[in-house]
Symmetry: C2
Subunit: 234 residues, 2 copies
């Protein structure tokens, strides 16, 4: 949708591996299924899971345009057998249910051939105000950072809600805390914003919490994260 709306960009076709995947996409844009004819274009954006990049690349062997994947963790060379390859990695978390303001999303670019960068820059610049060139090493670092900031932080919220459920407490009690956790990080660094028993070195409360956790994996998590917080402030 961001490509369809971007000024100066013509979204020629949307292609999926299974046609059902496109059933809720707007009808204005021509659709295709991989394995049948894929339209000619200047750039092909392969937005699939990492493990599918190679298989999709095989379907584009006859194309002369630039082919980019969107992975934070793979080399442009993951598009095997193609020569004009690159990466357009959007640093964001995507869920089908969520519409995003694409203009804010950092787009990290790499091309195997320097002469392809201006084209990729033009495409990325039409989508977002924040465009950076990053090689694989830097991009991998950023992807790892994103796992902590999004995936792992989100899982901590999940675990907190699970503890609430176990104690038959309404989950909405945690809402204001979650909101302030987020707002605080707009004003303070995460280093400054940290509070809690681990930050204070309050062993009594930590032990009481460990006694409450029935699940051994959760107990290990509690201990290890507390240790990491304490190490941060030692």
């Amino acid at each position: 949708m961001a490509l369809h709306h971007a000024a100066g960009i013509e979204l020629t076709q949307v292609v999926a591996r299974r046609s059902e995947a496109l059933s809720d996409f707007i009808p204005e844009v021509p659709r295709g299924v991989l394995g049948t004819a894929v339209a000619e274009a200047d750039v092909y954006v392969v937005a699939v899971s990492d493990s599918a990049i190679e298989a999709v690349a095989r379907e584009l062997l006859t194309k002369s345009g630039l082919v980019v994947h969107t992975s934070g963790a793979r080399d442009p060379g993951a598009l095997k057998g193609l020569s004009r390859v690159g990466v357009l990695y959007p640093l964001q978390t995507f869920s089908r249910e969520r519409e995003l303001k694409f203009g804010d999303i950092p787009l990290c670019l790499e091309t195997s051939q320097p002469e392809d960068m201006p084209l990729l820059r033009t495409l990325a610049g039409a989508l977002s105000q924040q465009v950076v060139e990053l090689d694989l090493e830097a991009r991998k670092g950023l992807h790892l950072a994103a796992v902590f900031v999004n995936n792992f932080a989100n899982h901590m919220v999940y675990l907190g809600e699970a503890v609430c459920r176990e104690h038959k407490l309404p989950a909405n009690l945690l809402r204001p805390l979650l909101r302030e956790t987020c707002s605080k990080l707009e004003a303070l660094t995460a280093f400054q914003a940290q509070t809690g028993p681990a930050r204070r070195g309050d062993r009594i409360t930590q032990q009481a919490h460990l006694n409450l956790l029935g699940d051994s994996l959760q107990r290990k998590l509690y201990q290890l994260i507390s240790e990491s917080i304490q190490q941060t402030y030692d």
Copy 2:
């Protein structure tokens, strides 16, 4: 400040253990230092770290009013030697730099004597719209949940920013992701919002991330949290 502004509540005095702690408090409210005269009041709110509750209680032995502490993890009995005791636990993260809208903060109440509950309810109701009675077990569960939702989620953001620093990447690249991580949780449950290599069972990316982490504690954390995410979706 919330007590000072609350309709129907008269904040008689603010008392600290060290007078410097009150240096930036508004001059309209009389101040005191613990150990010298503490004014008479209907309710005394002992808002100190858990380990200091007992020592502060000793200074209030001659008082006949209701004395409450604000801990999520301690019994009203932590106020040793006093008979009219209770708990007023605000489920929120507090930092000196942050002014909070107190009206949204869930206040969890407990009194050792049932006849003191109406008074504590009146006080709490003047501060917040969300007032719940919770016994120690439930409050401890909620406090533990809060550690995950706030303390641990915040530390994940810290670790993500630290990875960025190590790779000499600007930390502001993570801003839009952090914002979407938060907004997503307004619309979806944490269970639905989860994405990433652990959620997808993408072992190759997980291994690549582990290779990037130089610190053994961070490697252990990455493995354990990924395991917990996988277990959640198995």
